[in-house]
């Protein structure tokens, strides 16, 4: 129970469904912030009080479990390492993968629980043979299956998402209101919970330091300077402060971050188009395809709120093992290594990979 409205309503529904429910709030930061400001932050003292108050009203016991040490290692340090390596990580997925449905789930199972119930909007379905499948929520707008794409069959077996079929957040809020839950009108949290002021760049600079480097175009011409390559994200346009205008006068975007040489590569928007994606860290959310080395039709989604794009995918051999290799039907914009590509078949989540490399749809030289 984060202290938000979704997990509070999920808990209430779980109780009504006849389960024996205990509310658990995860302490993820060793030094919780003081009070919530706006919609930011998910581990403040106020959030923990809100979660406790919701548990009181629902009539279930409530505990705080401390995963701050694991969270720092598996999520925060990973976030810093990924940015330092020039990639764009998704810490919420890492948290689902390593904390909520791993460390928390393991502890819960050991203590005698059967499942972790959360307020995620996603569906869990059993096929004819009883195999667990993860599906999109029935309401596309609230669907959170993307951030759960990293869960495996073993984890999904112990997941319970009572909000799967709720068509809108407004209904969840109304239900919370009706149940007397004071969090009914609490703002949603959108930002990275461990960066409470939302200033990711400043937060990273404090931890990785700043080092002046060059911004270059695809031909290798120096067009500007920066205060640390880690602060840039593929697809970023704002904040480049380029002194030399592009020959065609059109805006330029970050195409690549090279931490080794502390270089940021920029180019025109067209050069962001990605024709192929591949990642060696892949998982299946349930049964794997029968012949994954044969190309199969699917849809690929590369951000929590991006539209899925038809694609073909397969498991390919590489020098050091295998990777999930995805070719979207039409090139994708702004794909950054470190992001997660989730592969769907219809509404079903098939699996995912963390993107290691991308192939541009527009080779260097073709454009400026």
């Amino acid at each position: 129970m984060s202290g938000g409205v979704d997990s509070a309503v999920a808990a209430a529904r779980a109780v009504e469904a006849g389960h024996e429910v205990v509310g658990v709030h995860l302490a993820l930061s060793r030094m919780p912030g003081t009070l919530r400001t706006g919609s930011r932050g998910c581990c403040t003292i106020e959030d923990s009080m809100d979660a406790q108050r919701a548990a009181n009203i629902i009539g279930i016991p409530y505990y705080v479990w401390d995963f701050s040490e694991r969270f720092k290692l598996d999520v925060v340090d990973d976030f810093i390492a990924e940015y330092s390596a020039g990639r764009t990580p998704n810490p919420c997925m890492r948290c689902n993968e390593k904390i909520k449905f791993a460390a928390l789930l393991e502890k819960a199972l050991d203590l005698g629980f059967d499942a972790v119930c959360t307020g995620h909007y996603a569906g869990i379905v059993k096929d004819d043979q009883g195999n667990i499948e993860l599906h999109r929520a029935s309401a596309w707008a609230k669907d959170q299956s993307y951030v759960l794409g990293v869960l495996t069959a073993e984890q999904l077996k112990h997941c319970y998402f009572p909000l799967a079929d709720t068509p809108t957040k407004a209904l969840v809020r109304a239900e919370a209101e009706e149940r007397g839950l004071s969090v009914a009108n609490k703002p949603d949290s959108h930002d990275i919970c461990f960066i409470p002021d939302g200033d990711t760049r400043g937060w990273l600079a404090d931890r990785v330091g700043t080092q002046t480097g060059e911004i270059v175009d695809r031909a290798g011409n120096v067009v500007g300077s920066h205060e640390g390559a880690h602060a840039y994200t593929v697809g970023q346009r704002r904040g480049l402060h380029l002194g030399t205008p592009a020959p065609d006068g059109r805006p330029r975007f970050v195409l690549e971050v090279r931490p080794k040489t502390n270089e940021v590569i920029v180019g025109p928007k067209e050069a962001l188009a990605t024709a192929e994606i591949a990642g060696s860290r892949y998982t299946w959310a349930g049964l794997a395809p029968e012949n994954p080395t044969e190309s199969f039709d699917c849809e690929v989604q590369i951000r929590a709120h991006a539209d899925p794009v038809p694609a073909v995918a397969r498991i390919a051999e590489t020098e050091d093992g295998t990777e999930l290799h995805i070719i979207p039907e039409t090139p994708l914009d702004g794909v950054a290594p470190g992001q997660t590509a989730v592969v769907y078949v219809g509404t079903r989540v098939l699996g995912q990979c963390t993107i290691d490399r991308t192939v541009s749809a527009v080779p260097a030289g073709a454009l400026g």
Binding site: P32, S48, P61, Y63, V64, D66, F67, A103, D110, L111
Partner: protein
Amino acid sequence: MSIYLDHAATTPMRESALQALVAAHARVGNPASIHGPGQAARAVLEEARERVAATVGADPIEVIFTSGGTESINLALKGLYWQRNAGVRRPVLLVPDGEHHATIDTVEWLVSHEGAITVPIPLDEHGSISVSALNDALAEHGDAVAAVTAIWANNEVGTIQPVEEISRVCAAAGVPLHLDAVAAYGHADIDLRALRTASNARGNAGPVAISISAHKIGGPIGIGALVLSRQGAVEPLLHGGGQQRQVRSGTQDVPAAVAFAAAAGESERERASEHARLERLRDHLIDGVLTAIPNARLSGLTGEGRLDNNVHIAFPGAQGDSLLFLLDMAGVAVSTGSACQAGIPEPSHVLLAMGRDEAAARSVLRFTLGHTTTAADVDACLGALPAAYASAARAGLSNRAV
């Protein structure tokens, strides 16, 4: 089944205190008012002060009612520090390791806001304050010492401190001593007059201030006292009407004081028989736990060196908060004993100060007994513990990096 073994957190209010509280709330009168109702309230308040004073070997004038242990400790430490630094600089505070957070955080505030310098006094493996280290520190820092503070009995591990020896070295060094007796009150013989005599204390030196709290002995939450020797001098925290020797301004809470006095009187009258009864239950619980879980380890001392109501045990391989949760699910309420921030148990700083590692400091439970505890409660706890330990040990120290 609902078994309450967390009496050190708070203990059920005694019937006599509850009735006194309700009755007093039914009467109007500010004890500072000059008219009849004011005088009536004053009479009731002062009688309560006399009754509380009698339980700690103090004169009534020496009992300053506060809002509880935390305020008493703040008043003693800040008050002594400011008083001792008026016109001269005496920045040093001698503070044992393993004190309660009310002390630790107050001292930290004095360091960051008033330029205090803190000198830690180590604990031994049983949690006892080293008197020789204290004596050495007093000699080394001489006239620069503002005050010494020490917990009378450790609230987590239950170790009763060598209070008389600590008092003697402070009196000899001419330095005021504050004693935090919040956990000890009701379970140890607290007698300010006897302690000052035994330690040859003079003026604002030796034991001058003792902090106590009502709800630990069956009084209401929200009232405590700083027992401040008439020769002790502190600067006040609160300014206003000049009540209570001008040390603690604010309209005095007559109903709470009356209820406090009722609980204090009853607790003191029962103390000898309760001591024997609680010790038996305590030792039965200790033996039962160590027999059922052979690798469990008792922290602190045994026998008379330990609070009669305290059992503090490390459970290797398990996390204290997992055990707490499982016992709670089984209807047994216990504590990890350590401070919480937003409900997150910290590793016990007392165990760390006793030389134990962080894994041990996270594996502890504190069981504390009280005036309503029965042998059946202890047996029920012993019955629930093995299964809880088996599950908690399986879950292990799950926050730790693997």
